[in-house]
């Protein structure tokens, strides 16, 4: 068993891309992802001077976005490992830039001219970009995850929130799964022993993309989903993007105030749920940092220790 874990660690090295939100506002996501990775033999290494992925300036200056993405890809290329993101928007943004740079020779030449002159870097197009959840689903696999489950989560009913940039657009991701009927997160939830709850507007956008432009519109978009999940009496929402979390957890109290409702819906990052199932202590998964406390949810788990 030990050898197998070591082998898979050697074959599963990734550079972790944190982006803007994770290292400041979603440390619980980062901690739980690292813990889960360690437990499953997935090696993650770091590059301290990654910057923003470039996504925020795409609407302002598309070429500038490509340059910022290429700078990060160039740093990753130096490491020689594929890039793993925790944020779905970072994943979309870096994947798209990567495709364009790999496929368009003229663009690649232009980007490298500017990148080398301005910041002394070059990107030759040799890096693969993927999402942490995709690695769990496609590389580790639900079977291997199910084999390592220590705690009994069968009393939990959680609602998956896929978020938009995890599956779309398929023009850059390929048809990894049907964006109108994705299954990967449901399956990953079921692999932990918890039940995946179905609800209205399951694929709806969190609204985070317009938060900076019009807060009221963004909050109204999030409110609908909180409402629909509460209607199914789910124990929590489970998601895989720190910006979706900003909307559903960070802004939950504001939403409650604006819409005169009470949700108190715990929002878990998938690695937190998985970590609990793998028998990792809640504190080690950053559960204390969850703004909407998940104490009741944790109590429902039979951790098999007491």
């Amino acid at each position: 068993m030990k050898n197998r874990a070591e082998d898979s660690a050697q074959n599963s090295g990734y550079t972790l891309f944190l982006g803007c939100t994770v290292p400041v506002r979603a440390l619980n996501y980062e901690i739980s992802a690292r813990k889960v990775a360690e437990k499953l033999g997935l090696q993650l290494s770091d590059v301290s001077d990654f910057s923003c992925c470039g996504y925020p300036i795409k609407s302002v200056h598309r070429y500038g976005y490509l340059l910022m993405a290429a700078r990060n890809l160039a740093l990753a290329e130096k490491k020689g490992l594929p890039l793993c993101t925790l944020c779905s928007a970072c994943c979309g943004s870096l994947t798209e830039a990567n495709h364009e740079i790999q496929e368009d020779e003229k663009l690649r030449k232009q980007i490298n001219e500017d990148l080398s002159e301005w910041v002394g870097l070059r990107y030759e197009g040799g890096i693969r970009v993927t999402h942490f959840t995709r690695i769990l689903r496609e590389e580790i696999g639900k079977k291997k995850i199910a084999e390592q489950i220590k705690a009994d989560l069968s009393s939990l009913h959680v609602a998956p929130h896929y978020g938009c940039h995890y599956t779309k657009p398929t023009s850059i991701y390929g048809k990894i799964e049907d964006p109108e009927n994705p299954k990967s997160l449901d399956e990953l939830i079921e692999a932990t022993g918890a039940h995946s709850v179905q609800y209205e507007d399951k694929l709806q956008c969190c609204g985070g993309g317009v938060l900076a432009i019009d807060e009221q519109v963004a909050l109204a978009m999030s409110q609908r989903k909180l409402e629909h999940i509460r209607a199914q009496q789910a124990d929590a929402m489970v998601l895989v993007c720190p910006f979706c979390n900003v909307m559903y957890e960070g802004n939950q109290r504001k939403i409650e105030k604006v819409f005169q409702k009470e949700y108190k819906l715990p929002i878990l990052y998938y690695p937190q749920l998985l970590g609990l199932a793998l028998g990792i202590e809640p504190d080690e998964l950053g559960m204390k940092m969850n703004r909407v406390k998940a104490t009741e949810l944790v109590k429902k788990i039979n951790r098999g220790t007491d």
Binding site: C20, V60, G64, R71, D114, G207, I213
Partner: protein, 165 residues
């Protein structure tokens, strides 16, 4: 009322020559985009079919100076469903890129550019954050990323005096 004399017939070609806007002329206004739009569900200020129609008619100033072009949440629902592959979120970005060049940069986007130029990220990683990371046994994150400032400066989005408080 719309006055067709004010239309700029070249507007759609200008958009079509912008990366992301290439397929605008293929739109036949079926409305699939608007029907499935999550922003449209909470506000009628955003209506992608209407925006594309206005752009094709040549309502350049009305489109570029509007706040509604900034309301696309980039969820890509319409991108996947559009029968004509108009790539609406990318088309909206193309229009926004043109709007910025014409001087219509929303103040919130300006603030984001300033944050990126100052910190290389939208959120500053201060000593406090790194101290917390150390306590949690997480690797330190470089607070400032000067490269991003250089890139934004070269693109004309940042002047040196802005960064000196």
């Amino acid at each position: 009322m719309i006055d067709s004399k004010t239309f700029d017939p070249n507007f759609k070609s200008l958009i079509a020559s912008e990366p992301g806007g290439e397929n605008i002329k293929k739109c036949f206004s079926c409305g699939t985009c608007t029907a499935g739009c999550p922003v449209r569900e909470v506000t009628d200020r955003y209506n992608p079919r209407r925006i594309i129609r206005m752009a094709i008619l040549g309502m350049k100033k009305e489109v570029l100076s509007s706040d509604f072009i900034w309301l696309c949440s980039s969820c890509y629902t319409c991108f996947e469903r559009c029968p004509q592959n108009v790539k609406i979120p990318e088309l909206m970005n193309a229009i926004k890129n043109i709007a910025v060049r014409e001087g219509y940069l929303p103040s919130t986007m300006k603030s984001q550019l300033d944050l990126l130029a100052s910190f290389g990220r939208l959120l500053e990683v201060t000593d406090f954050e790194n101290e917390k990371r150390k306590e949690l046994h997480l690797p330190l994150v470089q607070g400032r990323t000067e490269d991003v400032k250089k890139i934004l400066k070269k693109l004309g989005f940042h002047r040196e005096e802005q960064s000196r408080g």
